[in-house]
Symmetry: C2
Subunit: 194 residues, 2 copies
């Protein structure tokens, strides 16, 4: 993190990291498979946390509800207290495409793991993957807003708002058994379909 912050990610050489850390280049690669992987050391812990949270969600809760609750729990226990660290880290990641790629695949694996948990809870297949992807999308957007935001709204709150926005945005054409007319959910952004 120090070196990546000083010289940027690309200009930082593994030899430099190893020297600063007091070990050899060879041993660096024994701990991290990649030069990028250093910044994603905690990803497996986060995945484990979320998987457990969804597994232990009340059995009758909606897939999305279980996911959002898990994300909020993670937000409270691991993210909220490390906001400035998250900001510096995210600045590095979004400044470098390779790091962005790595972040995306971490989130994709996370989504896959969560989808698997949902299937274990009896959610059928198109819906399981879809809910997991939607949950991760909510997290991505909420996290971005939390990191770039200046006020001190809680990440957990932003997640809740974002999830509500998603349910409004994703609302399909009114099903046949639904009431007619519009239902302007607060915070919703519709462009008015008659």
């Amino acid at each position: 993190m120090e070196l990546y912050g000083e010289r940027g990610f690309e200009q930082t050489t593994v030899a430099g990291i190893a020297e600063r850390a007091g070990l050899t280049e060879r041993t660096f690669f024994r701990y991290f498979t990649d030069k990028r992987e250093v910044l994603f050391w905690g990803a497996s812990l986060l995945q484990e946390l979320l998987v457990n949270a969804v597994e232990e969600a009340p059995p009758h809760s909606t897939p999305m509800a279980a996911l959002i609750a898990a994300l909020q729990q993670a937000a409270d226990t691991v993210f909220e207290q490390r906001r400035t660290y998250a900001q510096r880290r995210q600045a590095l990641i979004s400044a470098n495409p390779e790091l962005h790629e790595r972040e995306l695949i971490k989130l994709a694996r996370l989504a896959a793991a969560l989808a698997q948990v949902l299937r274990g809870r009896g959610v059928e297949d198109p819906a399981a993957g879809l809910a997991a992807e939607a949950g991760i999308a909510v997290f991505k957007i909420a996290f971005e807003r939390w990191v770039t935001g200046s006020d001190d709204t809680t990440l957990s709150q932003i997640i809740a708002q974002t999830a509500a926005e998603l349910s409004a945005v994703a609302a399909g054409p009114s099903p046949p058994n639904a009431r007619s007319g519009q239902r302007p959910t607060p915070g919703q952004t519709r462009q008015g379909r008659p």
Copy 2:
């Protein structure tokens, strides 16, 4: 594609590709920034197509409706006729993490571009990014089902089904002004919240 299919992606060297293509390693890197980029040659065209389709969507259509229509148009005009090619390509990509990373960042950039178009159509900011991410999620799931499926259902049809599934899965807790009780939408996978 030939060499990647024969030896796999990792075992294929750029020198080998250059030799097979009848040019130098140096010139290869003048056309493709990356060894991986070869498999994503058409990504910019797809993005352009989708951006245009969303821009020219009827002005009163819902963000999600515009996105889904654009995706269906792309499905009909570029994907449907290249199913076996898409299958081979996807087999390569999902067999290799680096290629998977590259695919994910292409989709992420696509989502960002679509979100920008939505903002240009007057969609407010949390909703624009969220709709774009949700649309891409629908495409990812639908595409996966289309590629791995054995029957010859149209990708466009699968996209429509998947979008409907999403609106069912993402449906939030019943808003105060909504009817009480459950509404088991067909195809929906709820686990029954009382």
